[in-house]
């Protein structure tokens, strides 16, 4: 064969092979082409894979985990706005909340409070909805799980309502705190019903839900209903949000920010006493140095002493103070003295006019529920003056403003079609 013929043959052979390969690919290799696009996702789970009742426990623990990951950082934000804590950092993006000049477009409070709380509310509600759609045969202890999911959904709603000027749920239009408290009350009612159906295993959630509903009702102005629910909370009852040093997600951030000198307790909480005796409900330690900003005197809270310190969510003392607030008079005086003596303080409060007693109940709440995430709600509910006062110079720039609740943040407004 001549050289030119060999080339001709080689060229035809090459093209024939290429054509056959392409045609072969086309006819049989479609799956292969798609397989090329398959990627590994070793760190994520497609949402559709978690729809089944076999994942009920996992979804419920996820909802509780989301709440516990949100709670302590939310407390920090509400305590900074409510004047329990000073910011101690040099980071200007942290100053809007403590100087009460926070606006909807600020980034930090949504990251620390609105977004994680809303997420925890959604996961609790989503788990509740799924549990309600499944049967007892599909999900063991379903009523107990419903009680838990409904309680956490209700609890999230209460603290959202107490802290935010307005908010949205499930892409809703703007909702007032009152509308949110009503939803919270409904969740707690669902939880109470389910906890009762669960029998003795549901007792913790029954008590917690009574207290939660009492808190919601107090915010709704239903004092009688609140006191009735609070009275059902057994002596010494306490439910904590748990924390751990195992992972940053599980930290108690009130402790962590204290440890790093990023927050400092404000002046009204320094050296509090009852009849000359130091008040153990508000333990504060003078570190005798400045916080991280080099300006703020570092006064450390001593309620939470490590990353794993639990934070009370609902406890009998709060229930008692709800009753005291609603019923006033001798009942309130007795409750105040009883709570004091249980903490080793003199039970010497003698009472006074109805207004004075109410003021004392508020003051007792301020101490008893210090850094428990109640103060902002109390300031708003009682319309109390904020500390430091409006107009006072904020040492790191500007003056203290008059913002008394967190606005619904830009991250919700921008992405929620019903808010635009």
């Amino acid at each position: 064969m001549r050289h030119s013929d060999r080339i001709k043959v080689r060229a035809r052979r090459t093209v024939t092979v290429l054509t056959a390969a392409l045609a072969g690919f086309a006819l049989t290799g479609c799956d292969f082409m798609d397989e090329l696009l398959e990627i590994e996702t070793p760190a994520t789970i497609p949402a559709a894979n978690l729809d089944g009742p076999e994942f009920a426990d996992m979804l419920l623990s996820g909802a509780i985990g989301d709440f516990e990951a949100a709670f302590s950082s939310h407390i920090l934000q509400q305590s900074l706005l409510a004047g329990e804590l000073h910011d101690g950092t040099s980071s200007a993006n942290r100053w809007m909340v403590p100087s009460r000049t926070v606006m909807y477009f600020d980034a930090r409070y949504p990251e620390q409070s609105y977004t994680p709380l809303s997420k925890a509310r959604w996961t609790a509600d989503n788990t509740l909805k799924l549990l309600q759609g499944w049967t007892d045969a599909q999900v063991p202890s379903r009523q107990l799980k419903i009680a838990q999911a409904a309680f956490y959904a209700g609890y999230n709603l209460v603290i959202l309502g107490e802290s935010y000027c307005s908010m949205a749920l499930d892409l809703s239009a703007e909702m007032t705190p009152q509308a949110v408290f009503q939803q919270a009350e409904a969740r707690f009612t669902t939880a109470i019903t389910a906890a009762q159906a669960a029998g003795s295993s549901g007792s913790t959630w029954l008590s917690a839900s009574y207290l939660g509903r009492a808190r919601a009702r107090l915010n709704l102005g239903n004092g009688a209903g609140a006191a009735a629910d609070a009275a059902l909370v057994p002596v010494g009852f306490k439910l904590d949000a748990t924390h751990s040093a195992a992972n940053t997600r599980r930290y108690n951030y009130v402790y962590e920010e204290t440890r790093t000198g990023n927050v400092s307790v404000t002046e009204p909480y320094w050296n509090l006493t009852v009849d000359g005796k130091a008040d153990p409900r508000v333990p504060v330690l003078d570190m005798k140095r400045k916080a991280a900003d080099g300006l703020t005197a570092l006064m450390n809270q001593q309620l939470f002493l490590d990353r794993a310190s639990p934070i009370p969510m609902a406890r009998w003392e709060e229930a008692q103070l709800i009753i005291a607030e609603v019923q006033g008079g001798t009942t309130a005086v007795n409750i105040i003295n009883n709570l004091r003596t249980r903490r080793g303080l003199p039970g010497t409060y003698a009472g006074g006019t109805a207004a004075q007693i109410k003021d004392q109940v508020i003051a007792e709440r301020q101490r008893e529920l210090f850094l428990d995430g109640h103060r902002l709600g109390d300031l708003r509910r009682y319309n109390l003056p904020f500390f430091p006062p409006v107009g006072q110079v904020y040492v790191k720039g500007g003056i203290y403003g008059d913002v008394k609740c967190f606005p619904i943040p830009a991250v919700e407004i921008n992405a929620n079609p019903n808010l635009r």
């Binding site: 290799g29 590994e40 929620n416």
Partner: protein, 1016 residues
């Protein structure tokens, strides 16, 4: 993922095309082998021209001319053969010779200078190597060897800076090893990455920027000495064949290959220095009213530290105090050998680079090696294997929000001379936070091992058919280490600081498989066609893991395993794209070229309900000066070109999927949390571009002009925003990129501009030649649609927004236009008036709340950029070179100003407010609420590069046994011309696409270097 049936149609189409082109292939006869030898000379001077590429088209046979202009091509099939000679900067030439079996044909080429380089080979954005004349879009080529010989460049980014019209490089810090943002024709996307793709010899490589503590652009890892040339294509019109991901342009690095001939050895040695130019004049003087004396004290920390150093004062550690910043020294050594035969060619190189920054903690040590081998196993085949290995250790100093010497000195305070405003002892010599020696105790570096390798197989069974398979891998194995020991000094200044350590890996692996085939057919004497098709597969896999801990038991410990409290995190992501293309080109008489192509792509990041994406392109080019009728005075060559094409950009890896992530829950047990919100119809951002222009040579090709206008339309821009928290899938999740982020195809914008390059020989005599180059480009953009919104806020606190009717990433902030001060110099709030968007004024405050609107202040990315350079060559062996570059029209936020005047109140304005403009004082007094106080014009020009190079006479070089020897002395960043008052007009803190702001960065360093080059 569902099977996508359109693949069948596409592949069948390709098969049909393949059948069609085989119908009646024209064949040429070939028999036996002979030799062609000859010379290549400059047509004007008659001098030999080395490095010309001489080859016999269609045979794979070729050679490069040596320093005497001679070449030898063996193994040429007998018969009448076309021999072609090409050389950058010259018109190519071809001649026909008769080759006989065992015989030697002789040919001489006299190449004429060509200013516009119509016959230069381009390999980027085209299926195979194609002459520039056939391509409808502009391709910028940077000749590495030429650039290195003239300019003081230490890395790829410095080599590119100001050498490609339309490409803007924005450095962020002067630290050695750090890089800058790269924007080609401005920004293409509001939220996605705007960095161009980087290819090396046809394979995709890691283009990540600002990685690790060194803030490096990973393409800077490659040794400039190993680069032959760089090609840059600038937008969708040119990058269509690269498909999704290529909308930001493509930079292709072509590495050196072996040349036929005896081994040639090259040696390079460079030493250099880097300094903070005019340190004491530029250092801020800061003020403080002494609380004890009531007097205003001031300090310039650079001066203060120098005086203490000169006085022999000791630090609290007992070590001598050094000047604030040192001179950083650098060394660079390289050796290479290349050569080859007909059947085998090689290029082997190795180099070592050691650069010091001006802080003890800033350095780069890099070893690299390169092996490129080409074999010709049989007729019609060649296989090139390229491999490069890089091993480096890079350390970046702490700066920006991390603190560091710049923080301590830029924001120094006299208060810390005599006391310590943060408590603790002793005083800090005026440093803001820690003293320099304490910052030096923080260790942070990255160890990098990188392999970049490819195999390219070319097969040309006939003259009309060629096909190529490229398979390559770029594996970047990066280890990041940092620690802060528990030292006595550390505890002294930071009582809560117990020491910490972090150890992590961040590995990226890119895999490329690229196949293409090209069929050429001649239909008539005038008309011929070229049909090409191909398939590409790209995969990128990223794995990161970090272990960290705090609290060491004792000083001297630095490992994570020695800490008391430990944490870990990690992530893995993978992206794959598959695409096919078909291109048809028709040419008429080799001077009119019409091209049409379409590419189809699929990507793993597209939503499951999104089908394939198609990117078409079309282009036309006409070398009108080769027409008989062409007769324009002084115009010796003219090419008109136009191209239109589309390209895209992919979403993030898991953006389309709604997912949960595994995390820690109650009782520290594993549970799940909502992660990515997903979007099942998510597709790529799509950009289409029209580009028109011309290349012209004037005055016998002594002057070249290149003009390009482009208009780019971007739609389906992937906007990202936080998912609505009320719907659950919101908020960050540790280790999950994109958690809580919505990706939506809803942005629309346009950008347009022009690029021009004028270069030529200003004069040329027997003893002196002056060559100059002027480039300039303009880029503008406008946001057109944002899914129903009028603006998307990129950064609320900095005031960067994408707003309809304005350029992408513009500054919007509150601006005070009138204010009054009281007798003590404090602003009176009720007097403060702010600007409104319509040019009016409104009271800034309502009560204590700022209610004035944000107004447009300007653009973040410069609108104009350009450069002017000249080389004066005397007596053929002495060259004097200089380059000035400029960027105009951009604004940046001077955060040094904000920190000094509005946070720490250490500006002179704070102490003597009545001597200054009340408007500035009023803005400074309100933290960062009035961003207009800090957003300043950042236009500038810099005398960037100057060098003097001398080539020793051959008689002197031969004394070292060298065939060529040269020395060069060069300077970099020598002068700045700007109205910007901040520390460094080019400094940028944020890695964000649009937030341009300076906060205690090291400025661009003034550098000098001395280089010796020897060739044996």
């Amino acid at each position: 993922m569902n099977c996508r049936s359109r693949w069948k149609v596409l592949l069948l189409t390709l098969a049909a095309v393949a059948v069609w082109v085989t119908a009646t292939p024209p064949l040429i006869a070939q028999q036996g082998s002979g030799t062609i030898r000859g010379r290549v000379l400059d047509a004007n001077s008659g001098r030999p021209t080395p490095t010309a590429q001489v080859y016999v088209p269609g045979t794979g046979r070729g050679a490069l001319s040596n320093p005497s202009g001679d070449f030898l091509i063996q193994g040429v099939p007998p018969g009448e053969r076309v021999v072609r000679a090409e050389l950058i900067g010259y018109s190519s030439q071809q001649q026909t010779v008769m080759v006989t079996a065992g015989g030697t044909a002789v040919v001489e080429f006299r190449l004429a200078v060509s200013a516009i380089g119509l016959d230069e080979l381009v390999v980027t954005g085209v299926p195979g190597g194609t002459q520039k004349r056939a391509i409808g879009n502009v391709v910028t080529q940077v000749r590495a060897e030429e650039t290195l010989a003239a300019a003081p460049v230490a890395n790829l980014q410095q080599m590119l800076n100001a050498r490609a019209p339309g490409m803007i490089i924005m450095p962020q810090t002067g630290q050695v090893g750090a890089s800058g943002k790269i924007r080609i024709r401005g920004a293409s996307s509001m939220n996605l990455d705007n960095e161009p793709l980087v290819y090396v010899d046809g394979i995709r490589t890691d283009n990540s920027n600002f990685t690790g503590s060194s803030q490096a652009w990973r393409a800077n890892d490659f040794n400039p000495e190993d680069i032959e040339s760089i090609e840059i294509i600038k937008g969708p019109a040119a990058s269509t064949l690269y498909g999704t991901e290529a909308a930001n342009g493509v930079i292709q690095i072509i590495t050196k290959k072996g040349r036929i001939g005896t081994p040639v050895f090259g040696l390079t040695a460079k030493v250099g220095s880097a300094t903070f130019a005019n340190l004491e004049e530029r250092m801020y003087t800061n003020y403080w009213k002494n609380t004890k004396t009531g007097q205003v004290d001031s300090i310039n920390l650079a001066t203060a530290e120098r005086l203490l150093s000169e006085a022999g004062t000791l630090t609290a550690k007992g070590t001598p105090i050094d000047p604030l910043f040192r001179t950083g020294w650098s060394q660079n050594y390289g050796v290479n050998v290349s050569g080859g035969t007909d059947a085998f060619r090689y290029y082997l190189a190795t180099g070592y680079d050691n650069e010091q920054g001006i802080e003890p903690t800033n350095y780069v040590k890099r070893f690299n090696s390169k092996v490129n081998v080409t074999v010709f196993p049989k007729e019609g085949w060649d296989v090139t294997a390229s491999s490069g290995w890089i091993s480096s250790k890079q350390s970046g100093s702490t700066e920006g929000s991390g603190g560091g010497r710049t923080w301590g000195s830029y924001f120094s305070t006299p208060a810390n001379l005599t006391e310590n405003i943060s408590g603790g002892t002793p005083p800090r010599r005026g440093y803001r936070s820690w003293t320099a020696e304490l910052y030096d105790e923080s260790v942070s570096y990255e160890d990098l091992g990188r392999f970049t390798g490819s195999v390219v197989v070319n097969h040309r069974p006939t003259e009309w058919l060629s096909h190529r398979l490229t398979v390559g891998l770029d594996a970047v194995l990066q280890r990041n280490e940092s620690w802060q020991e528990k030292s006595a000094l550390y505890l002294l200044f930071s009582p809560t600081g117990l020491g910490s350590a972090s150890s992590g890996r961040n590995d990226r692996t890119m895999t490329t498989v690229d196949y293409s085939a090209t069929v050429k057919r001649s239909w008539t004497d005038s008309w011929s066609t070229e049909t090409a098709g191909g398939l590409q597969y790209y995969n990128r896999r990223t794995v990161s893991a970090v272990a960290s801990g705090t609290d060491f038991a004792l000083a001297g410990l630095s490992a994570v395993s020695a800490t008391a409290t430990r944490n870990s995190s990690g992530s893995t992501s993978e992206e794959t794209s598959v695409g096919v293309f078909v291109q048809q080109q028709a040419s008429w008489n080799g001077r009119v070229f019409l091209t049409a192509a379409v590419r189809a792509d699929d990507h793993s990041a597209f939503g499951q309900d999104f089908d394939l994406v198609y990117y078409p392109k079309a282009s036309a080019t006409w070398v009108v000066s080769e027409e008989d009728f062409f007769n324009l005075p002084s115009v010796t060559s003219l090419r008109l070109r136009a191209a239109w094409g589309a390209s895209g950009q992919q979403p993030a890896a898991f953006a389309a999927l709604q997912t949960y992530a595994s995390t820690i829950g109650p009782n520290d047990k594993a549970t799940v949390t909502p992660s990515t919100p997903g979007n099942p119809i998510l597709g790529p951002q799509r950009a289409s571009e029209l580009e028109v222009g011309f290349d012209a040579g004037f005055f016998d090709e002594r002057l070249a002009l290149e003009m390009t206008y482009y208009d780019t339309r971007i739609k389906d821009d992937i906007l990202t925003r936080g998912a609505p928290p009320s719907q659950g899938f919101s908020g960050s999740v540790s280790g999950i990129s994109g958690a809580g982020i919505q990706y939506l195809n809803m942005g629309k914008s346009k950008k347009w501009g022009f690029e021009t390059l004028l270069r030529g020989t200003v004069f040329s005599t027997e003893t002196a030649t002056l060559e100059s180059s002027l480039s300039m480009s303009m880029n503008d953009s406008e946001v057109e649609y944002l899914g129903g919104d009028s603006a998307v806020v990129q950064s609320s606190s900095w005031g960067v927004e994408h707003r309809i009717g304005y350029p992408l990433g513009s500054w919007f902030h509150v601006k005070v236009v009138d204010a009054q001060l009281d007798a003590a110099g404090a602003p009176i709030r009720t007097s403060m008036m702010c600007a409104t968007p319509d040019g009016g004024q409104v009271a800034c405050f309502t009560g204590n709340t700022i209610t004035a609107p944000r107004v447009h202040l300007g653009r973040t990315i410069p609108k104009w950029e350009g450069a002017f350079s000249s080389t004066l060559t005397l007596f053929d062996n002495l060259s004097i070179y200089g380059l000035v570059d400029f960027k105009l029209g951009g604004l940046k936020w001077d955060h040094n100003l904000r920190i000094r005047c509005s946070l720490y109140y250490i500006c002179r304005e704070n102490q003597y407010p009545l001597e200054y403009n009340p408007v500035d004082i009023a803005m400074y007094a309100n933290s960062a609420s009035f961003g207009a106080a800090y957003i300043k014009g950042a236009s500038f020009a810099k005398l960037r590069e100057v060098s003097v190079s001398y080539t020793l006479p051959p008689s002197v070089a031969s004394r070292f046994g060298a065939s060529r020897a040269s020395v060069s002395f060069a300077g970099r960043n020598l002068m700045t011309f700007t109205g910007y008052k901040g520390m460094e007009v080019e400094a940028m803190f944020s890695g964000s696409s649009y937030v341009m702001q300076e906060q205690n960065q090291i400025p661009q360093l003034r550098q000098f270097s001395f280089t010796t080059n020897l060739t044996f």
